[in-house]
Assembly symmetry: C2
Homo-oligomer: 325 residues x 2
């Protein structure tokens, strides 16, 4: 077992980057930060930008290189673990096809790994959250997109080339709305936070009295999925209808995954998980209708215990796991 006490973990999103210095024992964050992600940088500048962020983080946290076991960089896309490059990262196109882990490792002198953000989140829940000591768990990150991280036999399952868990692109509705991937009717195009807000904006064109408009300050284009959940809680029928449709699709997608993997646990995380029971209860109902009965009875469906910190904590777990091999 290595002796370094800390891991540096980044969870890079299309808008914000969460970063933390995480303690080995108990997974406490010595220091954490949320930074805007520079999506405008040309590819050659991305590694230096990351190095700059990491050095600033180490300085703020007052940790020396010798105290750090390694670095994990989570990205919202498919990471080819054989080449160490992001091969499909729709919200960070300039970051694709770069050997970022190697480039950072060379510049900072610390072992560095790159991982799909949803995989980091699943590892976080496994280490410190809802999936502790669970053999087979699948963690959904429900946000701008829909990602999953899959833990089988207590270990991260990445598939043939790092692309397992592309559940956001399950084909759910033939000829449904177009998805960012180019196909139509993918789960993500029907049930992500972006899909919910898109459908809500369309719905208020027919119902300008909906509470969603007032909650968005009178501007339909400012309606977010949070506003849809809030309006539905307040009894707004149009908001409830948008949610019912989206959560029916989401439940069908989750039922598919349960039929395929027969997991012990499904963890719902990401921004939409903040809706709590308002998300959980309809999902449990739809899963009960669409998954095979013995599998539906076996699985537990719960909310994230780590919230928005799941990803950075999972990245730290990845670092310590590698360091201790």
């Amino acid at each position: 077992m290595s002796t370094q006490k800390y891991a540096i973990s980044l969870d890079v999103g299309g808008t914000f980057t969460k970063a933390a210095v995480v303690d080995r024992t108990g997974g406490q964050c010595l220091f954490k930060a949320a930074l805007a992600t520079r999506t405008d940088l040309p590819s050659p500048q991305v590694p230096d930008y990351l190095v700059e962020q990491i050095r600033a983080l180490m300085a703020d946290a007052e940790v020396a290189t010798g105290d750090v076991a390694g670095i994990s960089i989570g990205l919202p896309g498919v990471i080819n673990q054989r080449t160490g490059r992001a091969i499909s990262c729709p919200n960070l196109r300039n970051w694709e096809d770069l050997p970022l882990a190697d480039q950072v490792a060379q510049r900072i002198g610390l072992p560095t790994w790159m991982e799909k953000d949803a995989n980091q989140a699943a590892l976080g829940e496994l280490w410190l959250g809802a999936a502790r000591q669970i053999e087979h768990s699948i963690c959904f990150t429900l946000g701008t997109g829909i990602g999953t991280g899959i833990i089988l036999n207590g270990q991260l399952y990445r598939g043939g080339m790092g692309g397992a868990g592309e559940i956001g692109h399950l084909p759910i509705l033939p000829n449904g709305p177009q998805c960012g991937c180019g196909n139509h009717g993918c789960l993500e195009a029907l049930a992500s936070a972006s899909a919910v807000s898109r459908e809500a904006r369309a719905a208020v064109e027919q119902d300008s009295q909906s509470a969603m408009v007032a909650l968005a300050g009178g501007q339909a284009e400012a309606i977010t999925s949070e506003i849809v959940f809030a309006a539905a809680r307040a009894g707004d029928a149009t908001a409830q209808c948008v949610l019912d449709t989206a959560l029916e699709y989401l439940g069908i997608g989750i039922a598919s995954i349960i039929n395929a993997f027969n997991p012990d646990l499904i963890v719902l995380g990401g921004g939409m998980a903040q809706a709590g029971e308002q998300l959980l209860s309809p999902i449990r109902n739809v899963v009960g209708q669409h998954a095979r009965r013995p599998l539906a009875e076996h699985v537990n469906i719960v909310l994230t215990e780590l919230g928005s910190m799941a990803g950075v904590l999972g990245g730290a777990y990845l670092v310590f796991s590698h360091a201790d091999r």
Copy 2:
């Protein structure tokens, strides 16, 4: 490593049971048989019936108990590996909830395992067929139903309680035709051999001139999926239309599985695989449209190499794997 040379393997279907005595080295069948499955037996008689079949098989093959490493019984349903009982076996209802492996083991005095038939088939392909030396493969058995066996990291993946791979019950088409499981629009209700023949029978009601009717001896109710494939090969437009629809759904189901598991290999087996390129080529096209591009480019989709013997050979592999532990 145990020294017994043979495994006894049964692949029990809703109509026929394939049985074989299989040699450890190279998986040659010393003796094989196909028997009608007694589906009418009351539950208490099932274990003695199985024992009778196994004893007859050993006598015909002239092997003594001391030469046999063990017995594998494949059933078309979900086997709860914790209780050793079939918990969902729609075509053999009287065989459900019996501790068959224990009952057979006690009566014959040989270690006995019970396994889902599609898992046996996947193990057969892994041992001697299309999935040899492949890390992550998923084997589809396309027959009366649709089953899959999942090999991850070179090992059978069964999920939390033996139910992984219930791909036949992926919800594909909301409000589609009813499935044997009670739900509507499951993959199996849209794309199994039974679904193909059901849709063909409905189609010839509108097109009594279809070649399918003549191929079925003038009796629409005698149309099988083999006849649908044969008529389509002969240029029958109605048959082709039925197939196009079913294979589109099948391809969407396979694309879902590719997006979820990122497998290296998909093996298509079961009765429908006899259609060869007529099955393979449309499936590859649909998968190319619906799976994530890097995952679709990564996966190889092939036909079974073991045909109807995949299950019994996989059962034998299971026996030898356990015996050598």
